[in-house]
Symmetry: C2
């Protein structure tokens, strides 16, 4: 117990070096969705491998094969697998994180270069600062702090750091289930921890025990084998765009209610006990509204309703259209083939196969009603929702660590997004999985001007150190 | 009259050099909508200036100022203005053409590099081959042929070749109306001729006496000041996309009927005399359907109905959405601001201001019905429809020239697209304007694999020579 105050002091003395290391990591544009940046992804993984080796871990880069990207066979970046400590008297935590990032261009509306970490008003702006390079480095700094104050690590650690998370974690499930698990990697693992999500708001910490799943749809309509000029062809073709817009308009109403037949039927009923959990959660609808500059929130901006629609009810979003005119200006094209993209965030107890069937049936029905001569097809990619028991000792240990750092009881929260690896790690290890967020609710992962607060980054390092300590105390 | 057979023979002997010159012109990627290609546009205009000088024209490059492109002030490419001959006993024709092209990438689905002219099966594939570099060079070759067979040009010529046509002809109207007209450029002009459109089908030539106008709309909806992650925010925002899709779905039905209130009210009534014109037009709906690989044509694929909906009735096309997800893959974004693009091809007697008001009123009404808290705005860019009298002596001269080359009476046709400069040149000159197409109906201007048939290119040069001869015979 004496080690922690020393560690916290050490962390406070090394703020500049933590910022510098994050700056180094952000400067590597490891955008996994873009073949042009594949070398940067590999470089990022190798960079992190060196860092893990410096704190004493044994590491290996695991090859996970190829993907088809932009029509070409492209090698996937390797997964960094590490082991630190093998004391059979200690608990072992498996830590997952990702080193890749979403695309970002300054011209998208960033106030500064996205791949140059810049501090403004106590915030560190840069792509990957909070998703997920900051948290991954947080683990590194926490281990390093134990080492530098001369204190033994209270747990054994195993690491799985991938670089394809923002591109559906391609190749990871196979590595975990078909390689690492049979090899016995998870045999000694007692707990799994992932830091790749955010606080609910901006001031109060939380621990996350549930995630929605996702069911993503590709709705394709073709009216001609090529794009057509609307001056020449307008009025003489059944346009694919108007068919697609018709179908997309049938999916969700203006208040966000999903119109797909029976879609709400299998959603887990809201029990009185669960309902009461929402009352105490720290969440300010007006601050939330202001943070995104929305005009008005749905569900009458009632806190509990907003949280439930974010965590435990499905939602449907229309993302866009591939194949149509998307640039600025006035292009007079009749697109020949368009692909509408939408997704449903699914929840307990919605099974992906069931949801996909409901959507396919509904779209087929609406398409028949439309009576268009064009060609329509729909396909889906889905992943299940996830929940754990927030009363589990692992969660209680994390709650004690959080309280030690932030002097407040953390909210037990869920999240609206999905992190598919959570379920895979639950299955691979058979152990309790916990999400321990470092960043704040306004960090804007995936958006312009992504940031992490200096406070969240630095206190987050201490939180991780305290979490390792608390899990070290759990009975073996 | 003896000159023409000699000229035709000369043209047939110089096919290779005509192809080579078109290859040179296509190789200059003069994409006017892209600031990166602005230097290529300037280079293209200068290249053409040299060619005109070589056939004896006096030329000048007219500066037309700046535009705002991608947020920057960018200089517009100059307009090439030329004069060849000033014999007061001869008629004077003003010829317009454009040297810029639509964007093109091989990855869009071209079978070969778009900016490399390639011959396959008697077709010359390349961006700009038919729109409008082929026709512009056609005039040059026709003049050159007169010169090389030692025959005097039967008319005086004036040229206006711009390089911004595919970008709304920015700066051209001002040059024509506020500079060239006051300077007296049009005082001696007797006729105006434009070759920037296509035959109706693939075998029978036509002369064009009418064009639809266009009214292009930008429908903007904003729900948040930035893009949002659907996992985090889905279910707790009124999404701009679903509002936009709702409004776009209210514009046109599956059969292409425009749903905007009163939009058909001012359309010129179909007279019995006009109706009969359609019967004799050479147009094969099945060949048309096959050329675009459509599943079924609207209007029961009835020839007259298809032609009328292409020429004399308005049509509405949905072009796309700016600000939404448009790439391949599964991006889980909730776009913060989206701009829907659609346009109406307008016809006699629809006035742009009237059409815009009907659209604005209709959208505002549907938006009020929607009851969304988001911010909506709509703006428009419009240009009038155009028609001439196909019985005018100028048209009869062009018809005689066409019959001489193709041994068939040309169809008197209209077009579905708009060429706004047609109206401006009609106003600036006060004279009869004629559209004399060179390319065929399946040339796919603005699409992938744009081409011009070798036959159309070469016979087109002869057609232009014969047209100059026929106009030379019209009484002064
Ligand atoms: Zn992440
Ligand atoms: Zn992410
Ligand atoms: Zn053109
Ligand atoms: Zn064009």
């Amino acid at each position: 117990e004496r080690a922690l105050p020393q560690i916290f002091q050490y962390v406070d003395q090394n703020v500049e070096s933590y910022k510098n290391l994050l700056k180094e990591a952000v400067a590597i544009p490891s955008v996994s969705s873009d073949a042009k940046h594949r070398d940067d992804c590999v470089r990022m993984v190798e960079w992190m491998k060196e860092k893990l080796k410096e704190v004493g871990a044994t590491t290996e880069l695991r090859d996970i094969g190829f993907q088809t990207l932009e029509g070409k066979q492209v090698k996937l970046p390797p997964v960094l697998v590490g082991v630190l400590g093998n004391d059979t008297n200690k608990n072992t935590i498996c830590i997952y994180g990702h080193l890749d990032v979403q695309p970002a261009l300054k011209s998208d509306g960033w106030a500064s270069e996205p791949f140059e970490l810049v501090e403004r008003d106590g915030k560190l702006f840069g792509r990957g600062s909070t998703d997920d390079k900051g948290p991954v480095l947080g683990w590194l700094h926490a281990i390093n702090a134990y080492k530098n104050v001369g204190s033994e690590l209270p747990v054994n650690l195993k690491f799985v750091f991938e670089c394809m998370e923002e591109s559906s974690s391609q190749g990871l499930d196979e590595l975990l289930m078909e390689k690492l698990k049979p090899e016995g990697f998870f045999d000694t693992v007692d707990y799994v921890c992932i830091s790749d999500n955010y606080w609910l708001g901006t001031t109060k910490p939380c621990i996350t025990y549930g995630l929605r799943g996702i069911s993503y749809y590709f709705l394709e309509i073709e009216c001609a084998k090529m794009d057509l000029h609307s001056g020449v062809f307008g009025g003489t073709v059944h346009e694919a765009m108007s068919d697609l817009i018709y179908l997309m308009d049938k999916l969700v109403d203006k208040d966000g209610k999903i119109l797909i037949t029976d879609i709400y039927k299998s959603v887990a009923p809201l029990l009185e006990t669960e309902k009461q959990l929402y009352n105490t959660i720290d969440f300010d609808p007006e601050a939330y509204r202001k943070s995104i500059d929305a005009y008005k929130l749905p569900h009458n901006a009632v806190k509990e309703q907003l949280l439930m629609h974010r965590w435990r009810y499905p939602s449907l979003s229309l993302h866009g259209i591939e194949g149509a005119h998307y640039q600025t200006g006035a292009k007079t094209v009749i697109p020949g083939k368009v692909v509408g993209k939408f997704s449903i965030r699914i929840v307990p107890n919605q099974e992906p196969e069931e949801v996909e069937k409901l959507v396919f049936d509904y779209i087929n029905k609406k398409w028949a009603e439309r009576g268009s001569p064009n060609k329509m097809s729909i396909s889906a990619q889905s992943g299940r929702a996830w929940t754990e028991d927030p009363d589990h000792p692992h969660y209680q240990a994390a709650a004690r660590a959080t309280k030690l750092i932030y002097q407040t009881e953390p909210d037990m929260s869920r999240e609206g997004g999905s992190i598919p690896v959570t379920i895979t790690l639950q299955e691979a290890s058979g152990k309790n999985v916990l999400l321990l967020p470092m960043g704040a609710g306004d960090d804007m992962a995936h958006s312009q001007n992504e940031k992490i607060n200096v406070r969240n980054y630095i206190e987050g390092i201490k939180l991780f150190a305290a979490y390792l300590y608390e899990v070290g105390k759990l009975p073996k």
